[in-house]
Amino acid sequence: MTPATSAPPDDGLLLCYCTNLTVGELREACQSGRWPLADKERTGKLCTGCVGDLLYCLKAFGGRDVE
């Protein structure tokens, strides 16, 4: 699984369909050191097709990887 594009993700994009997380919410949480957010801690753990994009954005935003 590898990143395929260097295009900056749009903040309004729904990133995780399983926990209703947007790109903007993830970006803000990573930048403020609040990732994982309290109500989104399951993001990436019980996800479907969202995982690849989540890992891509976590890397782009400098966030901690999914454990």
Binding site: A4, Y17, T22, T48, V51
Partner: protein, 248 residues
């Protein structure tokens, strides 16, 4: 590539609005009708808040986006494609938004598929969902992106294949497709898929004289996938069904 339309989904970004991403594949010459109203939900019109389609060629290039009027009961994919009808397979991504009250029932889009002038019976299937849906709501502890399909135990006269598409926006992936035959023999193929790329992978109905029993698809994350059967010699579709996921 056509310029993007303004997203039909933007107004639907509210805490109680959740998404479901699914996809199917379209070929020329078929009637292909998608149901937008969900029969298990009496208030389906109220709950389907928005639906935007994205059309992608096999390399993942966006050909077109189309907002769908959610008051419609069905969607005619052949009419949607119109003169832009595919010269080859096109993946249509359904990016839907629902009121969260519709879950945990996963509101699949159901489809009718039949070749124009063909003699094979019509096919009915649930559009393969790959983004969102059940896992976070059913109490599952683990999820694998491991899907399988069992073939009927009878002589096979069709050509089989698996259609698979990557619904990611950013991530490429590799999927592993393993075909199992009677007696335990198996054959494995790998396919690399960039974002929104898709492929049709042929399956041999026999391997060293052994009949195909099942096929498994493994990937780092869920992909849209279907098992396809084509009648010889004209290639008319006689099977089009999604693979099945196992939750742990």
């Amino acid at each position: 590539m056509q310029p993007l339309l303004a997203s039909a989904l933007a107004p639907a970004r509210a805490p109680h609005i959740w998404g479901l991403g699914s996809a199917t594949f379209v070929e020329p010459g078929y009637e292909h009708i998608i149901e937008l109203v969900h029969q298990r939900d009496a208030d389906a019109r109220r709950h389907l808040e928005a639906l935007e389609l994205g059309l992608y060629d096999p390399g993942g290039t966006l050909l077109r986006r189309e907002a769908v009027d959610t008051r419609e009961e069905t969607l005619d994919l052949a009419a949607l494609l119109g003169d832009q009808g595919p010269g080859s397979r096109i993946m249509i991504v359904f990016d839907a938004r629902y009121d969260e009250r519709i879950f945990p029932y996963r509101p699949h889009h159901y489809a009718y598929l039949r070749r124009r002038g063909g003699s094979a019976p019509a096919l009915y299937y649930a559009v393969s969902s790959a983004l969102g849906g059940v896992p976070d709501r059913i109490g599952a502890q683990r999820i694998t992106h491991f899907e399988t399909y069992l073939f009927l135990r009878r002589p096979h006269k069709e050509r089989y294949s698996v259609m698979v598409g990557n619904l990611s926006r950013f991530a490429s992936t590799e999927a592993q497709l393993t075909t199992y035959y009677t007696g335990g023999a198996r054959a494995t193929r790998e396919v690399a898929l960039g974002p929104k790329a898709h492929a049709e992978i042929p399956l041999a109905a026999e391997h060293e004289g052994r009949r195909i029993e099942r096929v498994e698809l493994k990937a780092p994350f869920r992909l849209a996938s279907y098992v396809v059967g084509r009648r010889e010699p004209d290639g008319e579709l006689v099977l089009f069904d999604h693979l099945f996921t196992y939750f742990k």
